[in-house]
């Protein structure tokens, strides 16, 4: 479309139409990112004077608590994304063609999508409580001599289980759509050419569902990286996630909270970029 072919007013009309939804999004989300960035460098101080400074970054980067939160959240993000997708992928392939009962299996697997995260946390904590079902069962079976403290375990298995419970259905949803779109003829052709199950996966299914894989990994990663509720309710008490650290440090200093907030945004972007680069590398290899 050239500029000359159109008078000005359709463009203004288009901009006005876009302003209501897209404009509001750009202005406000832009402002959110800007305020976080500015506050992390000492500006926009709600309590006192503005002063452009690197102090807050230096202070936080020096703090063990902050560094541990970065490591912990990154680990949670990647672990949750990889485990959810690794479990969802075979299920998506298995459920590719409908069979008797497959709708029920899908429904059961995807049900957690309908369950609020806080409710999920409660359900889980309820089951692993000191006198909860798991402890009762293990003691009754004689595996454990007495109930164990499972809630808020130090290795964060609880948080990870919750993340997978909540995110596997989502990964399954995203992957199913793209795995189902792969035609039978192409898979049959691969089979006729002598490709085994794994070769069919590697040469046909994986390349054709790579963008869904990338989307699933990215979204689960960002969600788990920025988790607050699961960590606070079921997470280890000796570790803090970034979102938790951000909420808690806000009580002391907006600027420190802003440093954590910017960290979260930057890590989300970097993680998404890393996943994009990896899937591009995979795509190039898969085609060869």
């Amino acid at each position: 479309m050239s500029t000359r072919a159109h008078p000005v007013w359709p463009k203004l009309r288009l901009l006005a139409l876009l302003a209501s939804g897209l404009g509001v999004i750009l202005v406000l989300i832009g402002a959110v990112a800007w305020i976080a960035l500015a506050q992390s460098f000492g500006l926009h101080n709600p309590m006192g004077e503005d002063r452009l400074t690197l102090d807050h970054w230096e202070k936080m980067l020096d703090r063990r608590l902050y560094l541990r939160a970065v490591g912990y959240s990154l680990w949670l993000g990647f672990a949750a994304a990889l485990i959810s997708v690794a479990l969802a992928y075979p299920l998506a392939i298995w459920l590719r063609r409908p069979f008797r009962g497959s709708a029920l299996v899908s429904a059961v697997l995807q049900a957690p999508l309908l369950v609020h995260g806080l409710v999920a946390a409660f359900l889980f904590v309820n089951i692993i409580a000191y006198h909860g079902l798991v402890n009762q069962l293990m003691v009754a079976l004689g595996v454990w001599a007495e109930p164990r403290q499972l809630q808020n375990d130090r290795n964060a298995w609880g948080v990870l289980i919750l993340q997978v419970w909540k995110n596997l259905p989502f990964a399954l949803l995203v992957l199913s759509g793209s795995v189902r779109a792969i035609g039978d003829d192409i898979l049959d052709a691969a089979r006729d050419l002598g490709a085994g199950a794994f070769a069919r996966f590697r040469r046909v299914i994986l390349p054709l569902s790579l963008s869904a894989l990338q989307a699933a990994l990215t979204i689960v990663f960002i969600g788990a990286l920025a988790d607050y509720s699961f960590q606070v309710i079921a997470g280890p008490t000796n570790a803090q996630s970034l979102a938790q650290l951000m909420v808690f440090s806000r009580a002391r200093s907006w600027h420190e909270a802003a440093v954590v907030g910017v960290t979260l945004m930057v890590l989300s972007l970097l993680g998404a970029a890393l996943i994009a680069v990896l899937s591009r590398a995979l795509r190039l290899r898969g085609v060869l």
Binding site: M1, G21, L22, I25, V32, Q39, L109, L118, N126, V247
Partner: protein, 272 residues
């Protein structure tokens, strides 16, 4: 196929562990009678009653939270629809350079981590003085946060309005209002309902903004549940609250799924 059969049985077992046990325990806990506590030596609660439900539903704290949540949700949904319609029209019906980029950019609120949006949107709203009414501030923030869903759904709906229907109505001399009614509305209606419902559900469930922007005294069901899972944890009460949060939404989601199917008929009929 035996393999499929074995897998199927295995998955039903996992399904039990996955859903039935957690919810079964929650339902049992919500029925524990206050007179006799459920001690570990009993497999089932020794005394069962609906007392916890009665107490909780009669509790003014919960009533306020329920009222807030269920007023917030339709308010946010209507705000979202108002903001969405012009943009969705543009994205659905006007071809322009950069339309794909514009579509991508509408997803921004979903990409920024929830608590980052919550904290710094709160800072922003404080700065411009828009926190006098917590209700409206939270409602507006929800409307912003869930715009991407509504824009997505409705721009597809706008695409599906058929130009020949519009033209036919015009050729037959229909007034603009009548044209809207016969050509636009039938194609838009499922999308409008679906977008309303998805924002409604998301708003009921939203925690970060309600928690940060609403604190300390504006409560919704999720913030109340969060408080009850923390400092004043009473297991049966938390069980009741959890079920109160989950049950209506499951029903709404099932309705939503039907709506989405009719809002996007290409999914079911195979026609593009």
């Amino acid at each position: 196929m035996t393999l499929n059969r074995a897998l199927f049985v295995a998955l039903l077992l996992i399904g039990t562990l996955w859903l039935a046990l957690p919810f079964g325990m929650a339902i049992l806990w919500s029925l524990v009678d206050a007179s006799t506590p459920w001690t570990p030596d009993h497999i089932l609660p020794p005394a069962i009653s609906l007392d916890r439900w009665r107490n909780m539903l009669g509790n003014p704290v919960l009533q306020v939270a329920l009222l807030n949540s269920y007023l917030l949700a339709p308010t946010a949904a209507l705000m979202t629809l108002t903001l969405t319609l012009p943009t969705a029209y543009a994205l659905g019906r006007i071809p322009f350079r950069g339309r794909e980029i514009a579509r991508m950019l509408t997803l921004l609120p979903l990409v920024v981590p929830g608590f980052v949006t919550a904290i710094f949107l709160t800072a922003l709203l404080h700065r411009i003085g828009f926190t006098g009414s917590r209700f409206w501030a939270v409602a507006f923030s929800h409307a912003l946060l869930f715009l991407p869903y509504a824009i997505r759904i409705l721009s597809v709906s706008f695409e599906q309005v058929r130009q020949d229907h519009i033209d036919a109505a015009r050729d037959l001399g229909a007034s603009p209002l009548a044209r809207f009614r016969v050509a636009w509305l039938p194609a838009l209606k499922p999308g409008l309902l679906a977008a309303f419902l998805i924002v409604f559900i998301q708003s009921i469930e939203e925690f970060a903004i309600a928690f940060i922007l609403g604190s300390p005294d504006f409560t919704t069901i999720p913030t109340l549940l969060y408080a009850r899972l923390g400092q004043d944890f009473v297991r049966p009460d938390a069980a009741v609250l959890s079920l109160i949060l989950v049950l209506p939404n499951v029903i709404l989601m099932l309705i939503l799924e039907q709506l989405l199917r009719s809002a996007n008929p290409s999914l079911s009929s195979g026609k593009g």
